[in-house]
């Protein structure tokens, strides 16, 4: 391949060369990081909760009035909900996966240990919860109705029995065998014995800060004696629409002294999920649009400048053709020229991409860019350059040798 003459020619078109290379470099830097952001967000929002999410409805309920104990009211409400024909099961809790608000607590294996081993979320549930959530119990047993107590949330949160997730069991015990062992859920707290292990259950938060313990959940058998309760309801198949209407009616019929917020009071779990990952999905879409438009504009820029160059060099092309160069020679000349420029661009661009990621890393605690993304970006941009230059290069190869004799 005749690289030397190409380099010599490029030296006479410094500004155009630099402009294309610069554009490719900047595009690479942004596209790499945007793709990386997309991948992170998408992998975050495609996590599963461990629940069977279809046919689940979540209700946010706040009792009104200066009541001293709310537990009896909660029990009455639960009985009314479970009595509905379209309801399979239901329970009351402080929080559930993806709710974006709940309790986190450090877990210890010794009560006097200064440092906690890991963090976990606390779900206060009853014996109906596992069935309602559709969570799979893989070891031990469920709570029984007699173990479920009424608990003042301002008091100690430790209870004698606890069910934990497999992920938490594996973090706490090297062999992952937690059944029958004792854990401590607060520094001065009482011991809790692990009576069951479930396969998987996600924490309420989806943010980065909870990423390190997003599968660590500890379930305790209690109804929190608080005026704020979440009811989680599993409806019978095909009954969801009807139950969305029937549930508030039933609750208000039991007692009017409550507030169920209009917009967020009663939601299907699909709505809960959509709301939880709204920002992640939006960010991924935004970055996707940015990538697409950016690549289109860069391609268009290459087409524009290359066409200009072809137009400028018609006479030289004619001379080369007259001297015996084939159409293919001309075509490959422009393709190679573009490849060389793009190569310069992607080398600078790779450095820029890593630099930009470094900035995002220090500023926003984003993860390190994996070099696969840079490699993919490099290949994509080189291919884009070749594709963009193809049309002008073909036009150049069609320049007839007669051009050499013209004066323009």
């Amino acid at each position: 391949m005749q690289i030397k003459p190409i380099l010599a020619a490029l030296r006479r078109h410094k500004s155009g060369t630099i402009l294309i290379a610069l554009q490719i470099a900047l595009t690479l830097a942004i596209v790499c990081n945007a793709l990386f952001i997309i991948e992170q967000r998408v992998s975050r929002l495609s996590r599963t909760t461990g629940m069977d999410e279809t046919n689940v409805i979540a209700i946010a309920n706040r009792y009104v009035g200066p009541g001293t104990s709310f537990t009896p009211t909660v029990k009455t409400d639960l009985a009314a909900i479970r009595n509905l024909a379209g309801v399979e099961d239901a329970y009351a809790t402080n929080s559930y996966p993806l709710r974006n608000g709940g309790w986190s607590m450090g877990v210890r294996l010794k009560p006097d240990a200064k440092k906690e081993i890991t963090s976990t979320t606390l779900y206060f549930i009853d014996d109906h919860a596992l069935k309602t959530l559709g969570v799979k119990l893989i070891e031990g047993r469920n709570f029984n109705a007699g173990e479920v107590i009424s608990l003042d949330p301002r008091n100690s949160t430790s209870l004698p029995q606890v069910i934990i997730t497999k992920a938490l069991a594996q973090k706490l015990f090297e062999d992952g065998k937690a059944l029958g062992k004792t854990i401590y859920l607060s520094q001065e707290g009482k011991p809790s014995t692990v009576i069951g292990v479930v396969e998987k259950l996600q924490v309420p938060w989806v943010g980065t800060w909870a990423g390190k313990f997003d599968q660590n959940a500890a379930m305790l058998p209690a109804i929190l004696d608080s005026n704020y309760q979440n009811f989680v309801v599993r409806t019978r198949p095909g009954q969801q629409e009807a139950m969305l209407k029937a549930l508030p009616k039933t609750l208000y019929a039991t007692s009017r002294m409550r507030v169920i917020p209009e917009e967020t009071g009663i939601r299907t779990f699909e709505q809960v999920r959509a709301r939880a990952y709204e920002t992640d999905r939006g960010m991924a879409i935004l970055m996707g649009i940015v990538c697409a438009v950016l690549l289109a504009i860069t391609a268009a820029g290459i087409v524009g400048l290359s066409s200009f160059w072809v137009g400028q060099r018609r006479k030289q092309i004619g001379v080369r053709r007259a001297l015996g160069a084939t159409k293919n020679d001309i075509l490959s000349y422009f393709m190679t020229e573009n490849f060389l420029i793009a190569l310069g661009g992607v080398i600078v661009g790779s450095l820029l991409a890593v630099g930009m990621n470094q900035w995002l890393f220090t500023r926003f605690e984003m993860e390190r860019l994996s070099l696969t993304y840079v490699a993919v970006g490099v290949v994509a941009l080189l291919a884009l350059g070749q594709a963009a230059v193809l049309a002008p290069a073909l036009r150049a190869s069609r320049v007839s040798p007669v051009e050499a004799t013209r004066t323009v």
Partner: protein, 435 residues
């Protein structure tokens, strides 16, 4: 001459519609992306109370010590003990403790359902400090604070719902079965970011509907509706809770001059030292006094999504500009013979500059108009990426419209600078000869 060059420019743009469209689109997309993300950034980084932001300070006192804090930064809230001690000391011009509560209003009309309200427990100074706009009545008095009085300030919306917007000062409001006398009604008031409660709202939330005295709220054992953090188990019951080292209170002071701020900081250090001597803290005084903008900055009110997307779209704009430079260069240099003729006929370099910059300016203006439309679409789409409390703050107001056009034209002129310079360098003799 300007009109003539404009005409020339338009004609030249028409001669090459593909290239022109490409430039207009590049500028349009670049500007629209930047302006849309800027509208969010502007909304989240703005000063919520510009006239007083440098005399209002948030107080932090480290009651947890180096073991439970990170990088020496004191916790972002106070204990009840500290909030009350600082409130009693009255060392500032004005001061208020604050925490969010979640009461339900029970309407007198039994056919209506109870309503839940965003609400705060605050001191009497809260209202003049933060310039809450009163429609009727006024704030309660500091005597009401001291007497733990059952008084309430409601906002216009709640007044509309409960009293049909009529005079309500002196009337009663039923909160969870307890009666409060209305001291005043404020207009709809929702400074964003909500600097006085960033910790619990992240800065953006629906307007609070009512306010009651802090002292009364604590009497009623109303728990915080926001974050409560305990380094240790507080023990059982409300009395143990408020005597514990659990943090859940905000504390704000108004200090009219820099000297006041220095004096107050010294007072805080003295207070912490006193606690250390009393054996409550086993570490040296570690206090902070931050004004509104410093506090918003420390609390990272601007969401990372906003900053990242702004940075990415500014990079996008730069790429569009580089692209435009290349296309303009191609376009202008193609007309080298024409330039040569004009120069030979006596046109100065300056007139060449004028002609080509005006042409580029037209492209910029067209790009700006396209950018404006796209920004409009973008602002509507902000809700797809950002929470609704933030999305509704991003609006296409006159400032943003003007900014969009100015940025588009300025960007295209900057992009045109190098190609125009090249055009002006065209040697008339050489062009004429080769023809």
């Amino acid at each position: 001459m300007f009109a003539y060059y404009l005409q020339l420019g338009l004609r030249s743009l028409r001669r090459n519609p593909m290239l022109t469209a490409l430039m207009v689109m590049a500028i349009g997309f670049g500007v629209a992306a930047s302006m849309t993300t800027y509208s969010v950034f502007r909304a989240t980084s703005r000063n919520p109370i510009p006239q007083k932001s440098d005399v209002l300070y948030m107080v932090q006192v480290d009651n947890w010590g180096p073991e439970n804090t990170e990088k020496g930064e004191p916790p972002d809230a106070l204990t009840y003990i500290d909030a009350v001690a600082l409130g009693r000391a009255k060392q500032a011009h004005r001061q208020t403790a604050i925490y969010p509560i979640g009461p339900s209003v029970i309407p007198d009309d039994p056919s209506r359902l109870p309503m839940r309200q965003g609400a705060y427990a605050v001191g009497a100074d809260f209202f003049p400090m933060f310039e809450a706009p009163f429609l009727q009545g006024g704030p309660w008095t500091t005597e009401d604070d001291d007497k733990h009085a059952s008084v309430i300030v409601i906002d216009r919306k709640l007044n509309d719902k409960l009293f049909n917007g009529g005079q309500s000062v002196g009337k009663q409001v039923n909160l969870d079965g307890r009666l409060f006398r209305v001291a005043g009604v404020i207009d709809e008031w929702n400074p964003q970011p909500r600097f006085f409660d960033v910790v619990n709202t992240g800065g953006f939330d629906d307007p609070p509907g009512l306010y009651i005295p802090y002292s009364r709220a604590v009497d009623l054992q109303l728990p915080t509706n926001g974050n409560n953090n305990c380094a240790k188990d507080p023990g059982e019951g409300w009395d143990n809770y408020i005597r514990s080292e659990c943090i859940w209170n905000g504390f704000w002071v108004e200090l009219p001059s820099k000297a006041d701020a220095v004096a107050y900081k010294r007072y805080l250090e003295g207070y912490a030292a006193e606690q250390q001597r009393a054996g409550r803290f086993s570490w040296a005084p570690n206090v902070r006094l931050r004004n509104v903008m410093e506090w918003l900055d420390v609390q990272h009110v601007v969401p990372p999504e906003s900053q990242i997307s702004l940075a990415v779209s500014l990079g996008f704009l730069v790429i569009c500009l580089v692209n435009t430079v290349g296309l303009l260069l191609a376009k202008f240099m193609r007309r080298a013979p024409e330039i040569g003729v004009r120069r030979a006929l006596g046109a100065s370099r300056r007139t060449i500059y004028a002609q080509f910059l005006i042409e580029a300016g037209t492209v910029g203006l067209a790009g700006g108009l396209l950018g404006l439309i796209l920004t409009g679409v973008g602002v509507l789409g902000v809700g797809l990426v950002f929470p609704k409390d933030i999305a509704r703050l991003a609006t296409l107001d006159p400032t943003l419209i003007l900014l969009t056009l100015v940025v588009a034209v300025a960007a295209s002129l900057i992009a045109a600078f190098y190609p125009t310079w090249r055009a002006a360098q065209v040697q008339p003799a050489w062009q004429l000869k080769s023809n």
